[in-house]
């Protein structure tokens, strides 16, 4: 959950990119890091295997002035998508304020998308939240590939909860949809925060 420092006039949010292996989570952060203006981003750091698979997490700190009178920091993380790294996924999810679920649009990846989303829900439940409660955005990535599933079909498979999760179609490696996704999740996180505040 957000860390508010009234003395330093600073609010920190943690946003986590989740999804199956190779769906494009790291690519999303790399593009954000590449294209974001210099003064609003910090260094990007990746704890990865020699094959560029995420081993622990990627980390990218961003700064904005979204809330009046405060410095708003968004600490961006990715998790390792490979099934075997579930214990590290749990660690990275800790205290998070919002999740981007990156789904791989290729037809053959649908089982992995479903499994990864279920895994997200289980891990969130362990920390007292769930996919229904957490600010969440879906990115249907790799729309440029052959054999992609229609968006409606992906909705049917993974976006079938009581409230439809906002969806951004993406070709992350070309930058397509990357900033739309970032804007969507940061807006949701900010609104969630302000709403909770106003309820006291």
């Amino acid at each position: 959950m957000a860390v508010v420092n009234y003395a330093k006039k600073e609010i920190q949010f943690k946003i986590v990119y989740y999804g199956p292996g190779l769906c494009g989570k790291t690519t999303n952060l790399q593009i954000v890091h590449e294209k974001m203006p210099g003064d609003s981003k910090g260094k990007m750091s990746s704890l990865a295997t020699s094959q560029d698979r995420t081993l622990f997490f990627d980390f990218l700190p961003l700064k904005s002035d979204a809330i009046e009178g405060y410095t708003t920091k968004f600490q961006m993380y990715t998790v390792p998508g490979q099934v075997k790294y579930n214990s590290t996924r749990k660690l990275v999810l800790r205290n998070c304020d919002g999740v981007v679920f990156v789904a791989d649009s290729q037809i053959k990846k649908m089982p992995e998308n479903i499994e990864s989303l279920q895994n997200l829900d289980e891990n969130l439940k362990e920390q007292g939240s769930s996919v229904d409660e957490m600010p969440l955005v879906f990115q249907y990535n790799k729309r440029d590939m052959k054999n992609v599933a229609p968006v409606e079909y992906m909705d049917f498979l993974i976006n079938n909860g009581p409230i439809r999760v906002p969806v951004v179609n993406g070709v992350a490696c070309d930058g397509e949809g990357v900033f739309d996704t970032l804007n969507a999740i940061s807006k949701l996180v900010l609104h969630d925060f302000i709403q909770k505040k106003n309820q006291g």
């Binding site: 959950m1 860390v3 003395a7 809330i67 800790r94």
Partner: protein, 148 residues
């Protein structure tokens, strides 16, 4: 777990951390939560967000490792470098200390002792922070307004 530091708590943590820095002859130090967010820092503060993220990760990973070999009572991680050393220690269920100290200026024994002292000093503040309901600051004029 949400952390809200009001002026008083922030000042308290800052004072104690500054004192820790002085007594332990460290070059920089920070307190972060287990999600990797900085609460307060002392000394040089470049790349602090990254350091906090890595501190939380390193602490959690090492603790899991310790548990796996049957060691439940895990207190700290110490990294000895050529010139600079790192000391990472749990302060309470939710908060971790990272201290960076130069080989030639300090010793791990001293840093460990001062870290324990720090833990005692800030215990109450951390307790009351952790048990605070997630409510708006004491100051009712505090409000959060989104910029257009």
């Amino acid at each position: 777990m949400a952390y809200e530091l009001n002026q008083e708590e922030c000042l308290e943590l800052q004072t104690e951390l500054d004192e820790f820095l002085r007594l332990s002859d460290s070059s920089s130090a920070l307190l972060c939560d287990k999600g990797g967010a900085v609460l307060v820092d002392s000394g040089s503060d470049e790349e602090n967000d990254l350091m906090a993220a890595l501190t939380a990760g390193s602490f959690a990973a090492t603790r899991e490792l310790a548990r796996t070999v049957g060691e439940e009572d895990f207190e700290a991680v110490y990294h000895q470098g050529e010139k600079r050393n790192l000391y990472i220690a749990g302060m309470c269920e939710e908060v971790i200390l990272l201290a960076v100290f130069e080989q030639e200026n300090s010793q791990v024994g001293l840093v460990r002792m001062m870290a324990r002292k720090l833990r005692r000093e800030i215990n109450q503040t951390l307790d009351s922070m952790a048990n605070k309901k997630e409510v708006v600051a004491e100051d009712p004029t505090v409000s959060f307004v989104l910029k257009k």
